[in-house]
């Protein structure tokens, strides 16, 4: 008997709670350090266009296919794109992201995993001109596991509907 919420209703709710927590973290640039904790020890964060996904082309916009790469993303955001943490020198991190996530569906699997799906849209506001801009529209096709009683992403698969990105984005989608 694996640890964690044993009954289906408990797992379903734990997966939905994980998604809500994810949105709260990625929508708050001050909380990016919490983002890797939402993933299991073996995990993937993938952002891919539907075009490449359906053509079977391996190039992804983001391919963080290990927990190490997921944790490295925080360093890239804070250090590489954040001028070594001198945020007063780098303002492009200030495009405040806002996820709008539609109703989520959870599909419990025999393998003690849950598949989690939802449509999403991400806006960025106030970057340079004080305007808002749509950064991404697509769907999540996630896999959630329940090690040690807590829900974690084994895979966060972000599929972008648009073959052309309308802007670069700093924080995870």
């Amino acid at each position: 008997m694996p640890a964690g919420p044993a009954d289906g209703a408990g797992r379903r709710q734990a997966a939905l709670d994980l998604l809500a927590r994810y949105v709260r973290v990625v929508d708050d640039p001050r909380r990016i350090e919490e983002w890797p904790d939402l993933f299991a020890e073996e995990a993937t964060y993938l952002v891919v266009t539907r075009e490449n996904h359906e053509r079977g082309l391996p190039i992804a916009v983001v391919r963080d296919d290990t927990r190490d790469r997921i944790r490295d993303r925080v360093v890239i955001v804070r250090e590489f794109w954040g001028a070594g943490g001198r945020t007063e020198d780098r303002h492009y991190n200030e495009a405040w992201p806002r996820h709008i996530v539609g109703p989520a569906w959870v599909d419990l699997k025999e393998s003690d995993e849950a598949h989690l799906g939802a449509n999403f849209m991400v806006w960025g506001s106030g970057a340079i001109d004080g305007q808002m801009r749509v950064l991404a529209v697509g769907e999540y096709r996630d896999v959630v596991v329940f090690p040690d009683g807590a829900a974690r992403f084994k895979a966060k698969i972000v599929i972008l509907d648009h073959p052309v990105l309308q802007d670069v984005f700093v924080y995870p989608l």
């Binding site: 952002v47 391996p58 983001v62 296919d65 790469r69 890239i76 250090e79 073959p163 670069v168 984005f169």
Partner: protein
């Protein structure tokens, strides 16, 4: 023609070749003029690699300047670049980024005119009561002249464009180094809109000065590029860029990332990078282990689509392909550790260009001719010399940086 020359006169370009009037990034009439004078002028525009359309019928859509185009491998195996518009009423023939046209050819949805992969009109619906002199062969889709080099596909709409090898000149040597025999495998591309004028995107690649200043990641891992140069081969004629540099850790690579494969070179004997611009809008590079072509497509005055196309070699074993897939977009793509900042900087230049005045190029300009050092921004001057020549702006003489002030 008169309107054009009036426009060129109203834009006051300083005598010094290191000063760039900001109005060239904000003037909508100039943008339209550029699309003709540059992108349908005597230049070769990089539109793809043959590995993107490997089998007959494969196509991708792109633009040559603002002309919508289809890059298609014909049923005869020949790659062509067709204008993406029906010869009848101009309807876009192909939607979407890519596909295979299949046996039926390109069929227009509007009146069901059908073309083969060479752009020949093969069928017309209900042609009764057409004028008696209507001939199908008169209604092919306009197409560009196409030449390839190491699989790279170039298109031109001008009869005055010299043969591709002459145009590329010394750049062929750099392309040989990056693409080898051209036997590549297409891994996929990422397309992103930069909110900046196309010239600002291209001139950024000529600029070696910003690399350590803007791309903080190099400092964070203490990776210093050195020992290279920025050539502008044949700069009197066409203004291509050929930049060579070598990245070496200052002491040792600071392991700030748990996975440092972003900065690893596994497929080359040295860490030499090549970064080339085929004037006006093509980029060819091998940075670390990333083989990349970029296609710069002007959308509007202040919006430019950049397609980052990634490739492996056909001889790559699976672990090398995986390495390339993990490294490429993580370094040189819109979410790349050392690329994203360019979008931020260039949007800021674009947004303040309305302030008028001039942008200034300083670093390396005391050297009047190539080669420059890899940290110089001086090669930007040669991009604009080639640009001004095509547009018909007066060209300052080489080394005019020390000329007397504006007049």
């Amino acid at each position: 023609m008169d309107i054009e020359s009036d426009l060129l006169r109203t834009i006051r370009w300083p005598q010094e070749d290191n000063r760039i009037p900001r109005e060239i990034f904000t003037n909508p009439d100039l943008f339209r003029l550029e699309m003709d004078a540059v992108f349908t002028g005597p230049v070769w525009v990089l539109v793809g690699h043959e590995a993107e359309v490997p089998t007959p019928g494969d196509y991708k859509t792109t633009s040559v300047g603002t002309i919508p185009a289809i890059v298609v491998r014909g049923t005869d195996g020949v790659v062509r670049v067709l204008v993406n518009a029906c010869a009848h009423r101009g309807t876009r023939l192909v939607e979407g980024p890519s596909g295979n046209v299949g046996r039926g050819g390109f069929r227009c949805i509007y009146h069901m005119w059908t073309y083969d992969t060479a752009g020949r009109l093969t069928a017309v619906s209900l042609p009764e009561d057409f004028p008696a002199d209507f001939r199908q062969e008169d209604y092919g889709i306009p197409h560009a002249r196409v030449e390839t080099y190491r699989g790279t596909i170039f298109a031109t709409f001008s009869d005055a464009t010299p043969p591709l090898r002459d145009y590329l000149a010394e750049l062929t040597e750099g392309i040989d180094r990056v693409l080898g025999d051209g036997a590549l495998r297409f891994l996929g591309s990422i397309k992103v809109v930069f909110h900046t004028n196309w010239k600002l995107y291209v001139e950024n690649i000529y600029d070696g000065y910003h690399v350590t200043a803007l791309h903080t990641g190099f400092q964070v891992v203490r990776l210093r590029s050195h020992g290279g140069d920025r050539l502008v081969p044949n700069y009197e004629r066409n203004g291509h860029l050929w930049s060579r540099s070598r990245s070496t850790p200052v002491d040792h690579l600071r392991p700030v990332l748990r996975d440092m494969s972003l900065f690893e070179v596994r497929t080359k004997p040295t860490t030499d990078h090549t970064m080339m611009v085929v004037f006006p809008s093509g980029v060819v590079t091998d940075y670390f282990d990333t083989i990349q072509l970029r296609y710069v497509v002007p959308l509007d005055l202040d919006r430019t689509l950049i397609e980052f196309a990634f490739f492996g070699r056909q001889s790559d074993p699976p672990e090398v392909l995986l390495h390339r897939n993990r490294q490429g977009p993580a370094v040189l793509g819109p979410a790349g550790a050392i690329t994203l900042e360019d979008a931020a900087a260039l949007e800021r230049v674009q947004r303040s260009a309305v302030a008028r005045g001039e942008n200034v190029v300083l670093k390396g300009t005391p050297r009047r001719f190539p080669p420059y050092r890899h940290v110089d921004e001086a090669p930007i001057r040669h991009f604009y010399q080639a640009y001004r020549r095509l547009l018909g702006f007066a060209i300052p003489s080489d080394g005019a940086a020390d000329a007397s002030g504006p007049r």
